[in-house]
């Protein structure tokens, strides 16, 4: 038993329409697609930030009290060195925490939620941050037949009374995988077999086992690749049609994999439901009974779902497949030297945005120095720089290699002092770019350039 006390969402800026992916697709559907400098880590980071910014946890209170971070994704951990510990380090959590990864199944988002709930119930852990993040590109031409949609969701569970309460949870296992990866290509078992022997069988038994009073829920969320054909099973178990929560996200974002059940849950919390049954099927079912204590004032999911930019052609979508920023048709760079040492050594500045403040004249510098350039004073104190700022000057670099030229470089005066000069991001189409002197921007963590071992993550400016 535990409480949901905060949640955060991160959706990419860009969407592609289904009928651009395939001419025969139905109109109106969209998939959310990462920009070329985003990956599961940057999305997960943004969701975690969104989590405590939205719910206004003072960072000092939030961070030391977190004693567990669970990272769920369907991207294999060792494929790209992404993991919970790495994320914990990015958001500057202490080292004395439980950092666990949940992968290899579309159910791992709710697996993480289930275990976090049980650990808090046991009393050993107090605050666990569950983050699910999925970024995967299907094979070319298979975008509509494979679960596809990029998103991240962070949920903070603890034992203090909060927005919602997980009153009961249970997991039922099934050995039949409906879809899995073999040598990088997706393999599907005969869908009739995995559907009938796996899904139907598992859901029917477990539903009868877990639910005693079907009428007590005002929202029933079923997340599964087969969810469309589950109505009959639920009706047989005593549910009514009007109890089913409609999955409005799938047409806006696509199936966001491990993130999807958590997004559906947040969606119901934001729409003011009181009592929720969450069932998430993949190789078995995770069930949750959730009571909503207070209607959330935040509509962060709804806001982000409605705020997007469309990809204009299939070729642009193909360009997004190529990770990294500095490759273009004209120019191919060799890999950057791995700057892992630099990233670790200068972590305070590069990742945590710690600056220095001159004790005498008060000038705030991002870069370290022995003396203040302004007044030559030698004593400084540390300051936390803000992620928000105003553009002081800028230029569009047409000759700097990029997937989507030009790269806009912006000189930014940060709120509360300090100045940084960084690239602008989420600008695929120059004609839509409205950045000018005086524009308000926010710093977001993105990939700078790809290297073979580990991407370099650094700040870029996103126009507000």
């Amino acid at each position: 038993m535990s409480y949901i006390n905060a949640y955060g969402i991160a959706l990419p800026q860009f969407r592609i329409e289904d009928n651009m992916l395939h001419p025969k697709a139905k109109k109106g559907g969209m998939k959310s697609v990462c920009f070329s400098d985003e990956d599961i880590i940057t999305l997960a980071f943004e969701a975690a930030q969104n989590c405590y910014e939205n719910f206004q946890f003072p960072i000092s209170k939030f961070k030391p009290e977190i004693d567990g971070i669970f990272f769920a994704t369907s991207t294999p951990v060792f494929h790209n060195r992404y993991h919970a510990s790495f994320l914990a380090d990015l958001i500057n959590l202490p080292q004395e925490i439980l950092a666990l990864d949940f992968t290899n199944s579309y159910r791992s988002g709710t697996d993480a939620l289930l275990l976090a709930n049980d650990l808090i119930g046991s009393g050993k852990y107090k605050n666990i941050l569950v983050v699910a993040s999925d970024v995967g590109f299907p094979d070319i031409g298979k975008e509509l037949s494979t679960p596809f949609g990029h998103a991240a969701c962070a949920i903070l569970l603890n034992n203090e009374k909060g927005i919602a309460e997980i009153t009961n949870s249970k997991s039922f296992s099934s050995s039949l995988a409906e879809e899995f990866q073999y040598k990088k290509s997706n393999i599907q078992y005969d869908p009739r077999f995995s559907r009938d022997a796996g899904f139907k069988n598992n859901i029917t038994t477990s539903l009868n086992n877990f639910v005693s009073n079907p009428k007590s829920f005002d929202a029933v969320i079923l997340n599964s690749l087969f969810s469309k054909m589950a109505g009959g099973i639920f009706v047989k178990a005593g549910f009514e049609e009007n109890q089913f929560a409609k999955d409005s996200l799938i047409s806006n974002l696509g199936n966001t994999g491990t993130v999807h059940p958590l997004l559906l849950l947040v969606n119901e919390i934001e729409s003011g439901k009181k009592s929720i049954l969450l069932a998430d099927y993949a190789n078995g079912t995770n069930f949750f009974e959730i009571k909503i204590n207070s209607t959330s004032k935040h509509k962060s999911l709804q806001e982000q779902v409605n705020n997007y930019e469309l990809i204009k052609c299939y070729q642009d979508y193909l360009l997004l497949h190529k990770a990294g920023n500095f490759n273009s048709i004209k120019y191919k760079t060799k890999d950057m030297f791995s700057s892992e040492m630099m990233q670790e050594r200068e972590k305070e500045t590069l990742l945590y945005l710690k600056g220095i403040k001159c004790e005498a004249c008060g000038t705030i510098y991002y870069l370290k120095s022995a003396r203040c350039k302004n007044c030559k004073c030698t004593t400084f104190s540390d300051v936390q720089l803000s992620r928000n700022g105003t553009v002081y000057s800028y230029t569009n670099e047409h000759y700097s290699p990029a997937s989507f030229p030009p790269i806009t470089m912006a000189v930014i005066d940060l709120e509360g002092g300090g100045r940084m000069t960084v690239q602008q991001t989420d600008t695929k189409y120059p004609e839509n770019n409205k950045l000018e002197i005086g524009s308000k921007v926010k710093l977001v963590l993105r990939k700078m350039i790809e290297n073979d071992a580990k991407p370099n993550y650094f700040w870029k400016a996103k126009q507000l």
Binding site: F326, K330, Y331, T333, K334, M336, F337, S339, M342, L350, T363, I364, Y365, Y366, L367, K373, N374, Y392, S393, Y394, T395, N396, E397, H398, Y399, S400, P401, A402, P406, I407, M409, V411, D413, G417, G418, R419, M420, T421, Q423, I437, M448, I449, N456, F458
Partner: protein, 393 residues
């Protein structure tokens, strides 16, 4: 500071600037050095010490990493030869080092030679590659050299009401001057429309607002003023010489006090040089100026930093054609970097040669009439290092 011995330039030499596929790095050294030595009427063996200025051996032909790359092509052995590297102010810094050596009495005849060979590589293999692949993997990534100055242009347009036409008119002026210079790379004048409609590099700077990188070399031979032989030499005297490093590679873009409207380095270097030369009103006391117009905005901005006009009034100078050939104070009558191109290590010395030619009355078609005193200016890095040299006949 103590009163300093006057130093005289007695020999000058400069190669053609451009894509010199038929000349190697060593050929360029020989070409410039022999011109200067012959001009001074001395033999190579009289040279007591030499300075070689090459800024970017790594993105050129890997020559110029040390002074020996000057000694070898000239067989100039058994004397001290030092390589100087200070970005775009490298050439001027070589002159400064030679001057100080003469003043200190280390040698009696000193050579400063700048040479750069950049065009053997593909354009995207040299300067752009340097900005993209080398250096700090996070800070300033995405900038090219043009962009680092374009942020100044956008801020100046906002603050001072400078228009894109003002910026591009600098390029029009310098390309016209370049058409008169047989050593320049671009020898074609262009219209305002051509500049403004050419390919955008980093807005508001178009390709014709940016100088090309080129191959080239330039050389000066210097002696103490007392050693000048008036029968043999046409000496040009170095009356003031200032060099200043006033910020770093990254700091300008991370310093909240930086206004992107002026280069502190230029102001400091100019102050040093003006004091030495006794100049108080530069606009009236100087006859011609070679400014480091690597990007047209830099020339405009430098009018103010050199004290030719008040802050924010540079646009009036270009609008009033005061800096054209025949105007009140001609600037970049050689065509500047925009026409000559920018072989980084050679540029500062090329400017000294250009001004010397005017002061000697040898500049041909583009001669500035009755020129008595000239100034050269270089700015290196992101406006971090500047040099100002005052020359008189």
């Amino acid at each position: 500071m103590k009163t300093q011995t006057d130093i005289a330039i007695i020999g000058i030499g400069v190669t053609k600037f451009g894509e010199l596929f038929h000349q190697s790095y060593d050929d360029l050294v020989r070409d410039a050095a022999m011109q200067a030595v012959n001009d001074a009427g001395i033999s190579l063996d009289e040279i007591g010490a030499a300075w070689l200025s090459t800024a970017f051996p790594e993105i050129g032909v890997f020559k110029g990493r040390s002074g020996m790359d000057l000694a070898e092509p000239l067989s100039l052995y058994n004397i001290p030869v030092t390589r100087v590297s200070n970005f775009c102010a490298s050439g001027a810094d070589a002159i400064r080092n030679a001057v100080n050596s003469l003043r200190a009495g280390e040698c009696d005849v000193a050579m400063a030679l700048g040479v750069e060979k950049l065009r053997d590589r593909q354009p995207q293999d040299s300067v752009v590659k340097m900005m993209v692949e080398y250096g700090h993997p996070f800070l300033q990534k995405g900038f090219t050299a043009a962009g680092t100055f374009a942020v100044y242009a956008n801020r100046m347009m906002k603050e001072f009401g400078i228009t894109r036409e003002d910026i591009s008119n600098i390029s029009v002026k310098n390309h016209f001057h370049g058409s008169l210079n047989d050593k320049a790379f671009y020898r074609k004048s262009c219209s305002l429309e051509e500049v403004m409609l050419s390919q955008m590099v980093a807005n508001p700077l178009t390709v014709l607002d940016c100088c090309p990188t080129t191959d080239g070399a330039a050389c000066v031979i210097m002696v103490r003023a007392e050693d000048v032989d008036r029968k043999k030499h046409k000496p040009i005297f170095i009356k003031g010489l200032g060099l200043s490093v006033s910020t770093g590679w990254d700091l300008p873009f991370f310093d909240p006090n930086h206004d992107f409207l002026s280069f502190e380095a230029t102001r400091t270097a100019a102050k040093i040089a003006y004091t030495q030369a006794g100049i108080t009103k530069p606009i009236d006391e100087i006859d011609l100026i070679e400014v480091h117009d690597c990007f047209s905005i830099v020339e405009l901005l430098t009018y103010e930093d050199l004290g030719l006009c008040k802050k924010g009034e540079a646009k009036d100078m270009i609008r009033g054609k005061e800096t054209h050939l025949g105007g009140k104070i001609p600037v970049n009558v050689s065509g500047g970097l925009l026409s000559c191109g920018h072989p980084v290590g050679a540029t500062g010395i090329r400017m000294a040669v250009e001004v010397s030619n005017h002061l000697r009355g040898n500049a041909g078609e583009r001669q500035v009439q009755k020129a008595k005193r000239g100034l050269t200016h270089n700015i290196g890095g992101p406006g971090a290092i500047a040099s100002v040299i005052i020359l008189e006949n």
